[in-house]
């Protein structure tokens, strides 16, 4: 320290004082940081031990696509192609249908390539009969790309499951 240490007005001293403050402030800031980190230790963890503990998903979750059925296990889908037309991914949903003798639609093929699906929910929004919907199922990993192409049998839920889904999400179906 120089001999003018008591003279705070001295320009040299001003720098020294400032530096002293910076060091002090720095130590204070670091101590404060450590104190804040320590405060976190007794807090409850926010992470989940998946897969032992499953997350609580919202009712609107965009998960695996599925086709709901009527309560008596018959097809709800009328094969109108609306979902295929609004899908942003090319040829992701493929539908073949014909009309039977009573002019009623019969869907013979309905495949969705879940490997290319981006889970946007566009198809569920335009479906005129509320048939194609999204489940809360997000565990879709499989061993091959081909296995991710789901056909109509994989996609269709039974009448009971469909009713449960509708009850859970408070859905009033337009056509039943």
């Amino acid at each position: 320290m120089s001999n003018h240490s008591h003279d705070a007005q001295h320009p040299l001293n001003a720098i020294e004082h400032a530096e002293g403050n910076v060091v002090l402030e720095g130590i204070k800031a670091i101590a404060q940081g450590f104190a804040t980190v320590l405060k976190h230790h007794p807090r409850e963890a926010v992470t989940l031990e998946y897969p032992e503990v499953m997350p609580e998903l919202s009712d609107r979750f965009h998960g695996r696509l599925s086709l709901l059925s009527k309560s008596d296990d018959t097809d709800l889908c009328i094969g109108c192609q609306a979902c295929a037309r609004v899908c942003p991914c090319d040829d992701l949903i493929q539908i073949d249908m014909h009309r039977d003798d009573d002019k009623k639609p019969v869907v013979t093929r309905f495949t969705i390539d879940m490997g290319r699906c981006i889970f946007c929910g566009n198809c569920t929004e335009v479906c005129p009969v509320d048939c194609i919907k999204m489940l809360s199922d997000f565990e879709l990993a499989d061993y091959s790309r081909e296995a991710l192409v789901l056909d109509k049998k994989d996609l269709t839920l039974s009448g009971q499951e469909s009713d449960e889904w509708r009850a859970k999400r408070g859905y009033t179906p337009t056509v039943l």
Binding site: K28, F61, V86, P88, F119, C120, G121, M134
Partner: protein, 423 residues
Amino acid sequence: MMSVKELNPELQSNLPGVSIETGFDTNDLVVNIGPQHPSTHGVLRLVTTLNGEVVKEMEPVIGYLHRSKEKMGESRSLFQYQPTIDRVEYLSSFYDHLVFVNCIEQIADIPVPKRVEYIRVICLELNRITSHLLWFGTFLLDLGASTPFFWCFRDREEVFTIFENLTGARMMYNYFRFGGVNNDIPAGWLEEVRAFCNHFPDRLDEYEAVATKNPIVMDRTKGHGIMAKEFCLKYGVTGPALRATGEALDLRKTNPYSVYSELDFDVPTRTECDTYARYLVRVQEMRESIKIIKQCIDKIPGGDGGALAILKKEVEVKTKEAKKNPEIVVPHWDKDWDTMGKKINLLTYKPPAGEASNFVESPRGVLGCYIITDGTPKAYRIKWRGASFSNLSALPELMKGHMYSDLMAIFGSLDVIMPEVDR
């Protein structure tokens, strides 16, 4: 503290005195940073010419994430294109949706109910917080602090859960529609948001206790990467980087869109123009966002979703009955409570021919969309203005004369996100 007046606009070319007198011959060294460098937060390649440790020249090479979003818009119907907009800028995708639907709403003259505007503003401001939180965590991670990174992700996930309850997705929302939103808010959602707003400022205090006055953070940010206002205008730099120069350009205030003119908030500005100032502006912006969200929760027409959904069902049923039996009284329903301004068949929707351009204040700066329609379901031309694109173009000149070790601090303070640059 330097004021902006003291700053020489020419300062960029002769920043810190870094001419090194070596006394022997030196060669320039070309270092290739990226495209997989962890601190570039995406795939950015920086071809850097170094003189010793000082950056002499820098050339960003971009395009690694080019997914031809504009071409995709020309080949898909508008509704089909909408989910892919989320991927233009995935950290704040509500903003991309907002400019997109605003353009179509203006071209087709679709009214937007008040309730929708408030829901949108809540989503936007929460999204600004998540975006800034990710920036906060990764910026400090680049400086060497790893603890705040995990804290930021914890709070970010909390907001994502709120978004999931609303839209069904955590990051790719696909929620806004032309003249409305996809789905009304669920019962109890506003309370979730309010609970978050109530505890988040305390969390923010904790972050700041760790970082703001930390001597290492201050040493590495104060006085580095100085961008004066003239420099920002030269490159079209906007957002927090521009506001750190004392220029209070925030489109929410200057050209209010949505319902921002009805809300009371401040535009945080600093005058130091350096990396630290940009840091402080962003932290302050999160606090302002909380202020905006709290006002929106109080002001939203119709209130929470649960009771309103019941009322809506009742109105629908009673209106049908009233047609047969005129004695039945239909409960009052306000136009402001709707979630759709006009019923649109999304499958066959064709906007009229026209053009519109919209610019909004995204977390990174001015985000814009320019759409030309020609009366078909597809757009004739869609052009995106990502704030990061312009902000990144300023980097080579900004880095000139800086130490190589300051690169990631300065680059991080620009908050560039690569998908928005390459689109």
